[in-house]
Amino acid sequence: MAPRLIITGSTGYIGARLAALARERGFDVVEFGRRSEAKWRIGDEPAASDLEGAAAVVHLAHSWATEPEAAEESNINISGTVKLAEAAKAAGVSRFVFASSTSSRPEALNVYGRTKFRIEQHLAASAAAPIVRIARIGLVYGGPRTAMYGLMAKLSALSPLLPMIGLSRKVQPIHLDEVAAGLLTLATDESQPPRAFVLAQERPISFAAWLRILRRSQGKGNLHFIPIPLTAALLACRMTKLLPLIPTVDPERVLGLAGATPMESGESLRLLKLHLADPLVMLSAELGQKSGEPSQSEAKALLQYLGSAPTEMQLQRLSEGLRREGLAPLGLSPALIKHPRLLALFEPPANRTQHRLARALYLADLAIEPERQRDKKAGLFNAILTISGDVLLLPLRALLAGRYR
């Protein structure tokens, strides 16, 4: 029987990757969360039946709803984590991996860092201590461009000039895949001692250098900064709370960037047999590929719109053709990429050969040609439907086609 692994926060940035990796390695993954099979929220008393027989619990969930300076006993992150760890111990689970942070310090500027530290303390004092392993995770990058990583990647690519705080702060990046591998080792490798591990690059770099790496790996030039004093940034955040109609920025996020001292990670990495890759190399490969991805998904949408179930070959052909004709990316909206049929609303008549979308569709039609079966054609009814639909939609399309000119 496959060993069972319980993951909380399995829908998050790290959790999703860890769950995928664990399943890939043959684990029977049980996801604990609001939207998963075992309904659970941080703070809940977990059902013993859910925990029994599990090889390990990896606890990634964190509630942001708690008041920043709440008392220890009312901080749901602290009490909930301890409750979960003790229940696991009681149910006979042999390892409890807690995802902490390299900002975990008693004197951390941000509440998140201080909370993580307090959880670590409470776990060490709890009945669950013998099964607890703490993973202090650095600045995670790579994979889906969401969470803090997505925000930073976007910001760095935005413009060559960036107003930013905390530029001299040292960060220790680690790739998402490396974090997932480290957490899985902690959860499954019996030889690892119950202690704190640091999952982060050994050599810290400045936050400014990190943003430059993010920018360069997206194929853009150098990045210059306008340093903003922390007080001004915090003031700006408070202002966003007072002003209506603009998005509020949590000062917590700003404080998280504001400064910390690096942690020694060499020994942890050796114990876990993690060899961290150079972030610039990793990102260049990933983001370089990513920049080709919009046109690939656009190519797919165009082919699907023309009624083809696109083959890898057709996608490659069309992406290359679009690129050479200077049509990639077309700038199709995500909704169109998801629902290619909607392209019917934006498509100009095929005889408007100067229109970018019309040209792109012509190339898509050509790309299908080698595999097309001549005798396969739409039935009469479908043909009439398609043609009359086209004619009826003409005024609307004339209006909308301009969008992709």
Binding site: G321, P349, T353, Y362, L363, D365
Partner: protein
């Protein structure tokens, strides 16, 4: 001093070049052929490569010219020619090939024969040309399109498309008022039965992309049998760039090599030959006259055939037509009728005011009942001249144009044709187009046989004042009727080569 490299150097491996080579090597003459192309472009490629090109040459926006010129093969060939030949066009599309097989790589394979009237002004008799026609057709293999039911006794036939067959039937039932309009099954250089090294047409309808079976004639195929002769030598990647007389002829090629022979046979195609002779002809003064056929394309719908099923057939010409428009000997147009259903759909969809999906749905519904007629005027309706650029020494520019009053003539012809379409139950669709001069690639008449002065050749294609320099391609066709010219160019090259093999004493070997 080294001896000559051969008795004859033939420049160009297209239909004219190979047709000249056969009689010469059969007579024991040593022939060296210089080919600007090479052997790449073998036949065993995937359909994807044939349709889109090895480097996706086809995946480009529509340039508005004919589907034939947009296929990867054509694009590769035409672009290399335009890039390296130094020949540009103003209101003219210079079409030529530096590839092995020359323009036979992209030809329509249609076969026409000239008759005594057509060559009334030529310094040759029709009997000699007819003998050559026979030899060529024997060599390349031709088929007539025919209704299966009426398949003639022993004649090589390919099935006529259903809509073309219907129209031909209508034509036979409803005879035209006068004899000015003729409609007949087309004759094409397509094999209906396999031959060594070439398979029969499998009716796969991919003709425009180059026939993977070798059923459509391409002069590359002839090179295979020519190379079996010990008297024949073919050199690849040898683009001739200059000719010098001393007292034989030395050919220099782009890579710096030079070859010497007592006689040179130019078969580089009309534009290629003009470029090679630019230094030997006083082009500066008047420009070099160039005949080409003004071309009209007309889409036709046969309502009676709507939604009927089609007959699998090849996608080259199904029917041939001719229509007289005047009393002069050459005052007639000829044409070819294609079945649209067997042609690539994209180019037709590109001309529809519908979205692509609806366009394809519409095309698929009506393609089987659609024909497209391409109509060719005789060369006297063109006014094209090759000029030498004073600024850029080596380059030539072709200025294209039509004869005076041609537009009136074109309108009158359209009217006359409309009568015939009506009789045949065909509706001409909007979108008929007159192509820019040059897209037909029926070029001729720059150095006509029988003409005196510097721009003329003898009946044997020998350039006036240039002993030992023979031309066998379309350059020496004195006047261009509206008929397809390739077969005649090949026959004329064969005729000249036979004459040369007879008259030129065989050198002591």
């Amino acid at each position: 001093m080294n001896g000559p490299d051969a008795d004859f150097i033939i420049i160009g491996s297209g239909p004219a070049g190979v047709s000249a080579a056969f009689p010469l090597i059969a007579a024991g003459r040593r022939v060296l052929m210089l080919d600007a192309g090479n052997d790449v472009g073998s036949r065993d490629e995937s359909r994807s490569v044939r349709v889109l090109g090895g480097d996706l040459e086809s995946l480009r926006a529509d340039d508005g010219s004919s589907p034939k010129l947009q296929t990867p093969v054509s694009r590769g060939i035409l672009e290399r020619f335009q890039g390296e030949s130094g020949i540009g066009g103003v209101g003219f599309m210079p079409i030529g090939s530096l590839a092995r097989g020359g323009l036979s790589n992209i030809w329509g394979a249609q076969i026409s024969y000239l008759d005594a009237d057509d060559i009334a002004n030529w310094p040759i008799d029709i009997a000699s040309l007819q003998k050559s026609y026979e030899r060529i057709s024997e060599r390349i293999g031709i088929s007539r399109n025919a209704d299966f039911k009426r398949s003639a006794e022993g004649e090589s036939v390919l099935p006529l498309g259903a809509t073309a067959a219907y129209v031909l039937h209508r034509h036979r039932v409803a005879k035209p008022a006068n004899g000015s309009f003729r409609l007949f099954p087309a004759v094409n250089a397509i094999l209906s039965e396999s031959r060594p090294g070439r398979a029969a047409c499998d009716l796969g309808s991919d003709c425009l992309y180059g026939c993977p079976n070798g059923a459509i004639y391409n002069s590359r195929q002839d090179l295979l049998s020519l190379r079996k002769s010990p008297h024949f030598r073919l050199l690849d990647n040898m683009r001739a760039v200059s000719l010098t007389h001393n007292p034989g002829w030395t050919v220099r090629t782009a890579d710096g090599s030079s070859f010497f022979a007592p006689r040179i046979i130019l078969a580089a195609g009309v534009l290629g030959t003009a470029a090679l002779l630019a230094d030997h002809l006083p082009i500066e003064e008047q420009g070099l006259r160039l005949l080409n056929s003004p071309t009209l394309a007309i889409p036709l719908l046969s309502p009676q055939r709507l939604l009927r099923s089609s007959t699998p057939t090849h996608s080259l010409a199904q029917l041939g037509l001719s229509l007289r428009y005047g009393d002069g000997i050459s005052d007639y147009v000829t044409g070819a009728i294609y079945e649209v259903g067997s042609l690539p759909a994209q180019n037709f969809i590109n001309r529809m005011p519908l979205g692509r999906n609806a366009g394809r749905a519409a095309f698929e519904r009506i393609a089987g009942s659609l024909l497209v007629a391409t109509i060719y005027y005789p060369g006297d309706q063109s006014r094209s001249y090759i000029h030498r650029d004073a600024a850029a020494e080596k380059s030539l520019t072709i200025h294209g144009g039509f004869a005076e009053g041609f537009d009136i003539l074109a309108e009158a012809l359209k009217r006359a044709l409309r009568r015939e379409w009506k009789r045949l139950g065909l509706i001409p669709l909007p979108g008929s187009s007159l192509a820019e001069p040059g897209v037909d690639a029926h070029f001729a008449g720059t150095l006509p046989m029988g003409a005196s002065g510097p721009f003329g050749t003898s009946a044997d294609g020998e350039l006036n004042f240039h002993r030992g320099l023979h031309i066998v391609d379309g350059s020496i066709i004195p006047d261009l009727s509206s008929k397809y010219i390739t077969m005649t160019i090949m026959a004329n090259a064969d005729r000249i080569a036979h004459r040369l093999a007879e008259t030129e004493a065989k050198p002591a070997s």
